[in-house]
Symmetry: C3
Subunit: 334 residues, 3 copies
């Protein structure tokens, strides 16, 4: 694709050589001739001069002396679009691999690709163009939508419902039993885990993450939400739309998370926490069971509190040795 065509596609403003050919995309430092890259932020724009890329996507109003650039309102987003245009996804061959074990009652779209050693139980449905890589397991009655990719060894327990354009990375487990026991007569009794799990459209779940089914209700991961690797979502949790939840975070039973919530890595939520829309939970933060977090709040620490409050306290925490010394001096003097 020529730079000129790319610029037109992205609705950008071209400065420099429009006839260069672009074959791929790369980071500022790794880019070579025929690569597209992007520069966002003052530091990156400064470095861009030394990039060997053929064309650099920059913010509006920016040009780079002696370099070909395309100015757009959101360079990183434009870069994503350009990558999609330049590197069209290859779809594996449709059809069912001869080593796959597919129940006769399952309904598999003709354009779907079912890899080696996949196991599909009774009454499962798999939508158009969906790809199940090697060793995927779909339990009885699962529904998987169109244009999904389930990477190797993904396990989906019986009855789970998965929307369209969902990506599940290797080893992810959807719909395993929730963790519920009742103590009596000297031992733990397993509480029924009969509920469902629903993964909505455009969700992505990282490698080896686990999403339990509801005990009696349903666990829900809302549209467009992204979970990183090794994330734990317990039974009956409801996560809203377009959330981003970083690796190793754990969300306990019956939590309700709003839309556009962001969580850092290794955060932990006790059971029945309610987090409203647009909250930000810091990495390693721990939210006590039952807590209600108001819209737009930023929480930090364990037990988690509003970031500003955390910081105000933390400053004094760091000065505790001086405080103690001063206190002793005063005490001695009086």
């Amino acid at each position: 694709m020529k730079v000129r065509e790319l610029s037109r596609l992205l609705g950008g403003e071209l400065h420099g050589e429009g006839d260069s050919e672009i074959h791929g995309v790369a980071g500022l430092e790794e880019a070579g001739p025929h690569d597209l890259t992007f520069a966002e932020g003052a530091r990156a724009v400064g470095q861009a001069q030394h990039s060997r890329a053929s064309c650099i996507l920059v913010p509006q109003g920016v040009t780079i002396a002696g370099r070909t650039s395309v100015a757009v309102s959101h360079p990183k987003l434009a870069f994503i679009r350009a990558a999609e245009a330049l590197l069209p996804k290859s779809h594996p061959q449709s059809g069912i691999h001869p080593t796959a074990v597919v129940a006769p009652s399952a309904r598999i779209a003709a354009s779907a690709s079912i890899g080696p050693h996949v196991v599909i139980e009774d009454h499962v449905t798999v939508g158009e163009r969906t790809v199940l890589k090697a060793g995927v397991f779909l339990g009885a009655g699962c529904q998987v939508g169109a244009d999904c990719v389930l990477h190797p060894r993904v396990t989906v327990y019986e009855g789970a419902r998965i929307g369209d354009r969902v990506i599940l990375h290797a080893g992810a487990v959807i719909g395993s039993d929730g963790f519920g026991y009742v103590f009596g007569e000297g031992r733990q009794h397993k509480f029924p885990q009969l509920g469902g799990v629903r993964i909505e459209n455009d969700v992505e779940v990282g490698s080896n993450s686990t999403v339990d089914r509801g005990s009696l209700g349903t666990t829900v991961i809302g549209e467009g939400t992204k979970l990183d690797n090794l994330v734990q979502v317990a039974h009956n949790v409801k996560i809203g739309r377009h959330c981003v939840i970083a690796a190793q975070t754990g969300i306990s039973g019956s939590c309700e998370i709003g839309d556009f919530v962001m969580m850092g890595g290794q955060a932990g939520l006790g059971d029945h926490v309610r987090v409203a829309d647009r909250c930000v939970i810091g990495g390693q933060a721990g939210i006590l069971p039952g807590k209600v977090v108001r819209e737009g709040a930023t929480l930090w620490g364990t037990p988690a509190r509003p970031f500003e409050e955390f910081r105000r306290i933390y400053v004094h925490y760091s000065r505790l040795p001086e405080m103690a010394k001063l206190l002793k001096e005063l005490s001695d003097r009086i």
Copy 2:
């Protein structure tokens, strides 16, 4: 089943309509006609009036105006029993799926169900009615008892011993090498991981949890203990009976945990920690290596300390800004 029969089965006291038919179980809010539900605690009992369930299990001495109820000493436990009676577990067909690879020296009970793509190595034994779902791996010499369920993709390394009625969820790994190295000559040398691992009766292990084999001794998960998802149990750990360990908790090498211990999510124990019976470890708590925790203690925070102590300190931590201000005023005045 009629309400009257259910009441008799549970040894409860029936109030209301004994002839209604019960077909299933559900939560208070989700229940419809022909469902059984339960109400424990004042709030749930209050809500129960609005439930559409045919019958509500309630604590002794409680009735709900205009509703059919069965009073029992422990409604939640009775609900579990009722669910077991109403929804008998379906056992998959016994036999060995033709795609399974089973060593001729393995001894598989005739009533066991061995799913597609299971791999069973030499000298393994699998007990009566045990179910191995798709893709389970049992390494050479493993022993698996009766009435177990191993969900898809469970991996059991060679020589592990698993009791009766054990449930291992998808992706769980039992018996992988412990994490032990000796530094010398500028690099890490792998310490032999030759020990065993024993999972006793009635244990349940969550999805993608990992239990390492002993290095020279044996790792043990005691009878009736339940591990949630993504839990890590290191080499030579001994966990007692009927413990409940929530998701993403990590237990380092050679820890010894007593009976009836409860751990919140994301707790971490350093190596050689000893936790006596009936302790409670809070979520995200971190216990320093070698620490001994006395019977019945409740620990909190990192480094973990008794909850009451933690709370006493934490109250003042929260007030640090005021303390600092007061201290400055005093200092200025003197």
Copy 3:
């Protein structure tokens, strides 16, 4: 092997009976006749007298009354060597199991062992004597070196490069997509994850750990580095050589870790952290994004700080109730 031969092999100094036969290795307490064991540290040396082992490896200058011992400069390291000599690793039969699905374009060394239900995609190479256990998946274009062991259900995404003598434990995932999104127009857009991943020689990765591919660059795990179970390594991370990283630690995107770094369990590093050589990061420590940690530092707490500083502050934190009381008394008096 006779004790005398073993002593010679280890370059040690023999005290006692050189003609005893040694058949295996064991811990001090578990060892029986014909076992070799070791004692390092005063306590272990004291216990050694009661061991039933035929021979005890001890530090130079130590003997144990009435027992046969071999004195060496580093008993634990010598024990590893002896174990290797006494218990030669059995190599599974070479060849490709008939249930494995191997692309015709893949190049598999004749001495490699490819287990049941393994899937190997196009243009993969597998080196001499490498063992792929049941259900391993190697995506298109992967390179795996010689003498590796990939345990059951390991998933390696396309294009990953794995050196020699690498051990990947069950369920580990190498090369899954990094966690990168750009928010725009009300939803998250997936940033391209086109980079590579390189696992160098002598690396060991624990069960169910996850190592993401680079987004545009490459994720690297350096030579001889060991990762425990359930560790998360994000996109573009570079880890140096001979590091030891304990279970459930998470390393965010673009971190750079030097050589000989040690991390306790459940540590968390924010993105773009740089940790120089020979640092020690405490268990559950949390390092803020972008932080630079100087060579040889020991860090502790969240947010992490130098251990000495942490301890100095923490002492006063523990005494906060007394401080508050004293402060109140002074305030009342003035």
